[in-house]
């Protein structure tokens, strides 16, 4: 390899992509060797400065577990959350059932009222005589044994 490393080749070198010819050239060429060393030194400085900066931070120390898992509330909060969800679902499911029961009760009351009314109507309809004539009807005895109300022997119409 006769030519110097290009800018792209130096960057590829830093990634780790290098050919044996390039390695030999960098070993032998002071210019390319210095360029690679300069880049490596700059990156090493950067790494060192980041680590130094990080180590100097108060938050660089691992914190107490309690601050990461606040009061480990999952142990009771999770079941509580599920219980709340279950209660909500139960209420939501109970509303239609309750309404259904109420509706059935209302319909049963209407049916009972209708039945009472019908009974009264039936009672009125089935009277032998109208209510105002009832006292008279009590005075008269009706015999319905003869279907047409005539005397069987004479054939005369008879009123008993």
């Amino acid at each position: 390899m006769s030519h110097h490393l290009s800018s792209q080749e130096v960057s590829q070198w830093m990634i780790g992509e290098r050919t044996p010819q390039q390695e030999q050239h960098v070993r032998q060429c002071p210019e390319c060797g210095a360029e690679v060393a300069r880049m490596e030194a700059a990156l090493a400085l950067f790494r060192g400065s980041v680590r130094h900066w990080s180590d100097g931070q108060s938050r660089a120390e691992p914190p107490a577990i309690g601050s990461i898992l606040p009061a480990r509330r999952g142990s009771w909060a999770q079941p509580m959350r599920w219980a709340l969800v279950a209660a909500t679902l139960l209420v939501l499911a109970a509303v239609p059932v309750y309404r259904n029961v109420q509706e059935r009760q209302r319909q049963a009351e209407i049916a009972r009222a209708d039945a009472l009314l019908l009974e009264k109507v039936d009672a009125e309809v089935s009277r032998a005589v109208p209510r105002p004539m009832e006292p008279l009807a009590k005075l008269v005895s009706w015999d319905f044994s003869s279907t047409d109300g005539r005397d069987e022997k004479t054939g005369n119409e008879e009123i008993r």
Binding site: S11, I15, A42, F46, G48, S49, V50, W53, Q57, P63
Partner: protein, 183 residues
């Protein structure tokens, strides 16, 4: 494989150990991404909480670190998107922190000139990293701060290995360009 998965799952069950072992890395990555210690702390906290809550879904297809980093990457992305304006303001304000960070460059007995040059280079990398796209910055930080290899980065970001390479290459080109300008 099954034993490894069971071991990993039990490691996640032990939240104390999980946090103790992995908090510094997750926090550091969040800090480098967001440049805000409070936001980084919140993201790291949320990361472990989510990991613990979704531990049943961990199948051991990648390392726990990669899995945690994946959660962190998603949280950081969401955080930056939800608070774009505040994030931009903080990024502007972090220029003060950059000056402080630059002062921490070890001189190693080098000359004042080379020390100043190193600080300039460092500031150039910080600024370049801040200007990268979200994906480029993520892969850049995972590779050059967290020392993750390409496959681990792919697992942590959900990208294909080839996509990771492309983003990393573009990030490096941007950083190289910025370093070149600083000289």
């Amino acid at each position: 494989m099954i034993a490894a998965v069971e071991r990993s799952a039990s490691e996640i069950d032990d939240l104390d150990t999980l946090v103790r072992l992995h908090w510094p890395r997750v926090f550091r990555f969040a800090l480098a991404s967001l440049r805000d210690p409070d936001a980084a702390g919140s993201v790291a906290q949320d990361c472990f909480l989510r990991a613990y809550r979704s531990r049943q879904r961990f199948r051991g297809e990648c390392s726990i670190e990669a899995w945690l980093m994946r959660i962190a990457v998603n949280l950081i992305r969401d955080y930056a998107r939800n608070r774009r304006l505040q994030f931009w303001k903080r990024a502007q304000a972090s220029a003060v922190d950059l000056a402080a960070v630059g002062q921490r460059v070890p001189d190693g007995g080098a000359s004042p000139e080379s020390g100043a040059m190193a600080r300039e280079q460092l500031a150039a990398v910080w600024n370049a990293a801040g200007d990268l796209s979200e994906r480029q910055r993520t892969v850049f930080l995972l590779r050059f701060v967290e020392d993750m290899d390409l496959l681990e980065i792919a697992a942590a970001t959900g990208m294909k290995e080839g996509t990771v390479k492309v983003h990393l290459f573009r990030a490096l080109q941007a950083v190289r360009e910025r370093i070149g300008r600083s000289q």
